[in-house]
């Protein structure tokens, strides 16, 4: 039983100490929300105070529309409230921003004017603007995505995956437009001949994407034990970002340059996934993007080169996807094999334990039942002797005595078998002072010690964990044997000593008796093995089998080595950290 230090189970420390992130996610989320609010406020001020630098940065650039600025203000405030855990307020703000985006999209799609574009003010700057005051379609889509990012709640794996994915999408939408400005490719920030996304709008969504990612990674990491499960979510997020990055790079370069090959990196990310078959999904999506890039990219090389380029990209992507799936499959196979192996081991162990228990029961019942006819035989012989005392001669009395003594012997064998089966049954492990145990044994062997004029030398012995009565039986058998198997005319001397290493207690019981041949050193521990005739030395041949079983019960080993001059040394070990499970 282990007692944990208090600090470790204190719930207040658990949350903060259970995860460590390299990036301080919460401060990042907080500061991005501030940046968004400031951006929104500045542009609104720019419109109201007529400061073109704030509205469009450069006079040839598309302005950030008033609604867009308002949208950033709303999204920034929503993000701030997500961080501060004002769920309802955050959702409310996000819904407004999302509505602005959605209505704008509806206006584009159905070619209607619902009056939203210049609802707040008349726009006097209309550079690269299809409808005055109307935000770009990709901006509108981004706001809708932001609103969804705030709107998803819950701590389930699906919810967290969705949050991370949507956050990545916001980032990617901003990133695509921004790279367009960097590389001077208009098609990435302007769709068709519709209103373009402003430079600072694209930066705004980059920041918003970072902010949402930070806040959701933060919330997911708080449930540290879920991180592994959510690995798929992170991976999907990375893949989406990377795909869109590659896509924007693809669009910004003329056809014929093998940008399509970069999609392989996206598929490689699938290697991080735990699910099988996922790499094929990635490959499918990436293939679609490669095809799309073919449609949208600026004209370049001759068409057959372009086709070969694209085709090869697709082939490589699918080869990589297949390889990844192979690896994943074999990983899964190994896991499965391990699991089934463990299950089989558990099953076998259970069967063995059942068989062991059954065996003990059989031995117990058998030896119990065997006593019955023996006792009856003895009883009948006694009655016979009583009734026919006068008629018995010396020979018949001797025969009857042979019957009785054989029965006694059988009876002793059966009861020792019974004792053997009972070793370690329903007993508890306690702290046992072996000095006391050996003293007790000496007391119960007092008669034979005195009669045999034996000397028992006992070194100071340790207190160990074990089964007390079994340990007593162990020493009783070893000391008893040492006295019993004495050399004629030499007084028995038994020496008991102990030592230890980090794992085991070690004991030695040394005698000066008749000794045991080395070739019998295994045999002697088998049940009912006897090396001597009954008339030489009495015994059932179970004593050392008992010892072996007791030592093994204590997770140790017993062995015999001949002493250098004469006699034998019995060595045994006992596990220090003994538990009752074994």
């Amino acid at each position: 039983m282990t007692i944990f230090p208090k600090a470790q189970i204190d719930p207040t420390t658990k949350m903060s100490s259970s995860y460590k992130t390299i990036v301080p996610l919460k401060p990042v989320a907080l500061s991005t929300s501030i940046v968004l609010i400031v951006l929104g406020v500045l542009v609104i001020l720019g419109w109201l105070a007529k400061i073109p630098a704030l509205v469009q940065i450069h006079h040839s650039f598309v302005p950030m529309q008033f609604n867009t600025a308002l949208g950033f203000l709303l999204v920034g405030a929503a993000l701030l409230n997500v961080v501060l855990e004002n769920r309802k307020l955050a959702t409310g703000l996000a819904i407004v921003a999302g509505l602005v985006g959605m209505i704008t999209l509806i206006q584009y799609i159905f070619n209607v004017d619902l009056g939203l574009d210049e609802f707040f003010m008349k726009h006097d700057i209309t550079t690269k603007t299809s409808h005055p005051g109307r935000m770009a379609p990709n901006t509108a889509l981004s706001f809708l995505t932001c609103a969804i990012a705030v709107g998803i709640t819950g701590k389930t794996e699906v919810a967290i995956r969705m949050k991370v994915l949507v956050s990545a999408m916001v980032f990617a939408l901003g990133f695509i437009a921004f790279t367009g400005y960097l590389l001077g490719v208009e098609s990435t920030y302007g769709w068709g001949n519709l209103t373009r996304m402003a430079l600072h709008t694209s930066l705004g969504f980059l920041v918003a994407g970072i902010g949402f990612s930070a806040v959701y990674w933060n919330s997911a990491l708080e449930l540290i034990d879920q991180v592994r499960r959510n690995r798929n979510a992170w991976t999907d997020g990375y893949a989406v970002v990377l795909t869109l990055m590659v896509f924007s790079a693809d669009l910004s370069m003329p056809l014929g340059i093998a940008t399509g090959i970069m999609y392989v990196i996206v598929v490689l990310i699938a290697f991080n996934l735990t699910r099988r078959g996922q790499s094929y999904w990635y490959a499918t999506v990436v293939t679609a993007f490669i095809a799309l890039g073919y449609q949208l990219s600026p004209e370049g090389a001759e068409s057959w080169i372009v086709m070969v380029n694209r085709g090869m990209s697709v082939i490589v992507v699918w080869i990589v996807a297949t390889l990844i799936n192979r690896v994943k499959q074999s990983e899964a196979d190994i896991l499965e094999a391990n699991a089934s192996l463990e299950a089989r081991v558990a099953e076998r162990t259970e069967t063995l334990q059942e068989m062991n228990a059954e065996m003990s029961r059989i031995v117990y019942v058998t030896s119990h039942d065997l006593q019955e006819p023996l006792r009856t035989t003895k009883g009948v012989v006694d009655i016979f002797i009583e009734d026919f005392q006068d008629k018995l001669d010396e020979t018949s009395e001797r025969y009857l005595h042979m019957i009785t003594s054989s029965v006694d012997r059988m009876s002793a064998l059966v009861s020792s078998l019974l004792d053997y089966s009972r070793i370690g049954q329903k007993k508890v492990i306690t702290e046992v002072d072996l000095n006391e145990v050996v003293a007790g044994v000496q007391e119960s062997l007092a008669a034979s010690i005195e009669m045999g004029n034996a000397t028992i030398n006992v070194a100071d012995l340790p207190t160990i964990r074990g089964f007390e009565s079994d340990l007593g039986l162990l020493f009783q058998n070893l000391i008893g044997n040492a006295i019993k198997f004495r050399r004629p005319d030499i007084d028995p001397v038994v020496t008991i000593s102990s030592s230890e290493n980090s794992e085991y207690w070690k004991f030695e019981v040394c005698d000066n008796g008749i000794g045991i041949e080395v070739e019998n050193r295994e045999e002697i521990f088998k049940i009912f093995t006897r090396l001597h005739l009954k008339k030489e030395f009495e015994g059932t041949g179970i004593g050392l089998a008992h010892c072996k079983k007791i030592v093994e019960l204590h997770n140790g080993e017993i062995s015999m080595v001949p002493a250098t001059t004469f006699g034998s040394i019995f060595k045994f070990t006992i596990l220090k950290k003994l538990t009752s499970d074994e």
Binding site: E372, T376, G379
Partner: protein
């Protein structure tokens, strides 16, 4: 001087054991009569048919545990349902070969049982029981 006990009942599936025990009872000189059964069911029928007034009710019963058909424990379950005057007056001993701790625990819960007696039954053993439990008879 009459003997302290009128009747002892022995129940053991081993007829030789019954024989040895019968002899021990007779030799002890403590009991007028001894009846033995090798089937617990028959012993039960006997007890059901003999009321105390009919003077056939044993004062002591020795019961074996392990028996075919109806074992000692099952016998006790039936025995509990007998009307009081039909129960032995009224000591029931369980005969055992060696004491199984499980049996001992089980026996403690049975009020009808006076205790265990380790086989074999001997004149001295019987005398011990009479001295200890049956002073009043």
């Amino acid at each position: 001087m009459s003997k302290p006990l009128d009747l002892i009942m022995l129940i053991d599936d081993d007829e030789y054991t019954n024989f040895i025990h019968e002899r021990a009872v007779e030799k002890s000189g403590l009991c007028e009569k001894v009846i033995s059964f090798d089937k617990a069911k028959e012993a039960l029928t006997y007890l059901q048919e003999h009321s105390e007034k009919a003077a056939g009710v044993p004062q002591l019963i020795f019961l074996d545990i392990n028996m075919p058909v109806m074992n000692g424990w099952q016998f006790i379950e039936e025995y509990k349902r007998l009307p009081p005057e039909r129960k032995a007056k009224r000591l029931l001993f369980m005969l055992t070969t060696s004491l199984n701790p499980d049996d001992e625990a089980r026996a403690k819960e049975i009020g009808e049982m006076a205790g265990f007696f380790r086989k074999p039954l001997t004149p001295d053993g019987l005398k011990g029981i009479v001295d200890q439990y049956l002073k009043d008879f």
